[in-house]
């Protein structure tokens, strides 16, 4: 009798212990069903990809006729037509609409001065977006570009590898890690666990990366707090709180699911875009230029891309 009571008690204790272990983070997401490392942490290892339009514009927006548009025959904003650089691509050059990923009222709290720069960035997308030059994409942009990325969760650190430009970021998990001496494109990331959520604090960004193709930008003062939670074995809930007192009046947050690439043979493929950007960046410096007027039945497009002073390659970089 006494023995039976004892063992019943032990089973109860064991059960409570397991429940505590599996109850998940503050959101209670994931629980026992998500993959875990031998030490009981959620295991984020795998190939992931966002499936949304945040890479076009973090904010809610309607579809546009082209990546680049010009005033149409009717002079209304809603009647713009594709402009020369993308005209030959037809409907494939359009931009899909989006419900947006900015939390709360959906607004990005730019200072008055920064809002002007953001609009200039949007208006001069081709000249200013570092993505077009195949520059390292920065964070969080790398996380929701339309390409898969890998997460390799080691015992003491987590490595993320991105398709675009073969970029990478390392998430240090050792709080004793001292800070880097310089600003970088991909920043310096230090992770910690809060229940079942991985919290990553990032800073030391160089201010040369953007958030999207809509000209949303930041300065060197950028700090990020990312929260990754495995909601199911195949979905990460990804939230980022963005702070930059030089550009924004208050912290703001974006959130989105990231999905596991479910193909059994999912893997990263090369996207070594330096060579894709060479004609864009250096084509005008060739001894014999490749861009010519087309002839005969072939569509002839004269592309006038006037690079404004201050946006030339070197001046942009030295900004």
């Amino acid at each position: 009798m006494v023995d039976r009571v004892k063992s019943g008690l032990m089973v109860g204790v064991l059960f409570i212990g397991m429940a505590a272990c599996n109850v998940g983070g503050p959101d209670g997401a994931g629980g026992a069903s998500v993959p875990r490392t031998p030490d009981g942490r959620p295991d984020f290892s795998g190939i992931w990809q966002a499936n949304n339009e945040a890479h076009w514009d973090l904010q809610a927006h309607e579809a546009r006729a082209g990546m680049i548009t010009q005033e149409g025959a009717y002079p209304y904003d809603y009647a713009r037509v594709p402009a020369a650089p993308v005209l030959a691509l037809g409907a494939a050059a359009g931009v899909p609409g989006s419900i947006g990923v900015v939390d709360g009222d959906g607004e990005i709290p730019y200072t008055a001065e920064a809002a002007v720069i953001k609009q200039e960035n949007f208006d001069n997308w081709v000249d200013r977006d570092p993505e077009l030059k195949c520059y390292l994409p920065g964070v969080p942009r790398a996380m929701y570009m339309p390409y898969p990325f890998s997460v390799t969760q080691g015992a003491n650190q987590i490595q993320m590898g991105f398709t675009f430009s073969n970029a990478a970021r390392l998430i240090h998990m050792d709080p004793e890690t001292t800070l880097p001496p310089d600003y970088t494109y991909m920043g310096f990331s230090l992770g910690r666990w809060e229940g079942d959520s991985l919290i990553v604090d990032s800073n030391y960004f160089n201010g040369r990366t953007w958030f999207d193709r809509a000209g949303n930008y930041h300065s060197e003062q950028l700090t990020l707090t990312e929260k990754l939670t495995l909601q199911t074995p195949n979905v990460i809930q990804y939230e980022v709180t963005i702070e930059d007192p030089e550009v924004f009046t208050r912290p703001w947050t974006i959130s989105m699911p990231l999905y596991r690439r479910m193909e059994p043979n999912a893997q990263l493929l090369d996207y070594r875009c330096i060579e894709f950007a060479e004609e864009f960046m250096y084509g005008g410096l060739r001894k014999e230029q490749l861009v010519k007027r087309w002839e005969s039945e072939t569509m002839i497009i004269d592309v006038t891309r006037k690079i404004p002073p201050g946006e030339r390659l070197h001046e942009w970089y030295g900004r």
Binding site: G46, A155, L170, D270, M281
Partner: protein, 418 residues
């Protein structure tokens, strides 16, 4: 000094501020007490643990120096002697007079040599092995296959023709070996190269560039386009992060040309043969304590010592002890070499804290040099056309020779490890 030469200032941005070379040349002894290292650790799920930052800590030539053909290892005295000679040559390189007396002294050689001397000199002491190549047993790369010979001969011809009216050939410098000086520039110097320009490989002439032409960014070759990184990589640092089903390897190599590699541990078949990649397609499996990675599907644009799309690698990563990782690679490409060959490199673990800094690959982001090279060439052509400058074809624009990696192309100041 009429000859403005820009190849030497390419892509410096990546690591400027990081490299601090000592004024007094001293070879570094980074070798650790091997007996002090503990046993090779395993991961919490039971696989051999490969995690860490790894690099070579001794200089071992890929091919065995000609005077040691029958010897797999140096004696300690031989290593000391070779280290002393290497250090003396590297120290002499700092003097301009030495370069002049070596038959150089052209602006092309001066700039190219200075650039390479600052970036690519190895200050490591010699290791015990006389070569990384352990098979064939003579420590030499096998003979080139007919296709590779044809490619090499055609590129050599193209390269020498481009240089034939420059000072490099006029002064009969090493970079013109196999060619002849001709006062008339080559009339076909704007033609498409016989092969896609990649790296200099065994073509003569150190310094920057692959061939003496800047008509297109492609002419400058992989290195100046910030695309030189390749596997196998014997030069840089690699940080390995490991999970059960995949291994992440970040290579910090080639002056800001690093890249990220995700290696699936999988028995899935390779990519379809029409999908070709710069770094191939990797599939890993554990064989006892060794991670064996099979790499195929290379791109015709990729280049490893002249091998391209037919390259097939079998890499073996094995942790010998807490501080040591052995990397063995068998290289097979019957269109490049008449037989497969195998190289071994011993990698030593670097302190995580000392090497915590992520040197991200920013070569491309800072590649002012590419634009400057092309602008410079166009300016020279414009000036010549207007009658205010000399014929640009008289200038050497790439592979002009000089003290590449601290050593002369040939003679007393050549690398004694050749």
């Amino acid at each position: 000094m009429s000859k403005i030469y820009l190849a030497g200032i390419v892509v410096l941005v990546g690591l400027v501020g990081v490299l601090q070379l000592p004024n007094v040349v001293q070879l570094v002894d980074a070798q650790t007490e091997e007996s002090a290292a503990g046993p090779a650790p395993t991961t919490s799920w039971g696989d051999p643990d490969l995690e860490g930052i790894w690099t070579r800590d001794a200089e071992v030539p890929l091919q065995r120096p000609s005077s040691f053909r029958d010897r797999e290892f140096f004696t300690d005295d031989e290593r000391a002697d070779l280290d002393r000679r290497r250090a003396e040559i590297i120290a002499r390189d700092a003097s301009r007079e030495r370069r002049d007396s070596n038959g150089g002294g052209t602006a092309e050689q001066d700039v190219g040599g200075a650039y390479n001397a600052e970036i690519y000199i190895s200050h490591l002491r010699l290791g015990q092995r006389t070569s990384m190549i352990v098979d064939p047993p003579n420590g030499q790369l096998p003979e080139l296959a007919p296709r590779a010979k044809e490619e090499h001969a055609a590129l050599l011809d193209f390269s020498l023709n481009l240089k034939r009216a420059t000072e490099v050939c006029e002064n009969d410098l090493p970079a013109c070996r196999g060619g002849e000086y001709n006062t008339t520039p080559w009339e076909d110097r704007d033609i498409t190269p016989p092969f896609y320009i990649t790296s200099r490989n065994a073509l003569p002439g150190g310094g920057g560039g692959v061939v003496s032409r800047s008509n297109h960014p492609e002419d400058r070759g992989h290195g100046e386009r910030c695309m030189s990184s390749t596997i196998p990589d014997f030069r840089g640092f690699r940080r390995i992060v490991q999970s059960k089903n995949q291994i992440a390897i970040f290579y910090d190599t080639g002056q800001g040309q690093g890249w990220h590699r995700t290696v699936p541990i999988s028995d899935a078949p390779h990519l379809p043969s029409n999908v070709r990649q710069w770094w191939g397609d990797s599939r890993a499996r554990w064989e006892d304590d060794t991670l064996v990675v099979d790499v195929t599907n290379f791109s015709p644009k990729s280049n490893f010592l002249g091998a391209h799309e037919n390259l097939h690698l079998i890499e073996r990563w094995r942790r010998l002890d807490a501080e040591t990782l052995e990397y063995t690679v068998t290289v097979d490409d019957p269109t490049t070499w008449v037989e497969p060959w195998t190289a071994v490199q011993t990698l030593k673990k670097q302190a995580d804290q000392m090497n915590r800094i992520y040197y991200e690959p920013r070569c491309h982001e800072g590649n002012y040099g590419m634009a400057a090279l092309l602008i410079g060439a166009r300016e020279d052509e414009r000036a010549f056309a207007e009658g205010s400058g000399e014929d640009p074809a008289l200038k050497c624009l790439g592979a002009c020779g000089g003290f590449a990696a601290g050593f002369a192309d040939e003679g007393d100041d050549a690398n004694p490890l050749r």
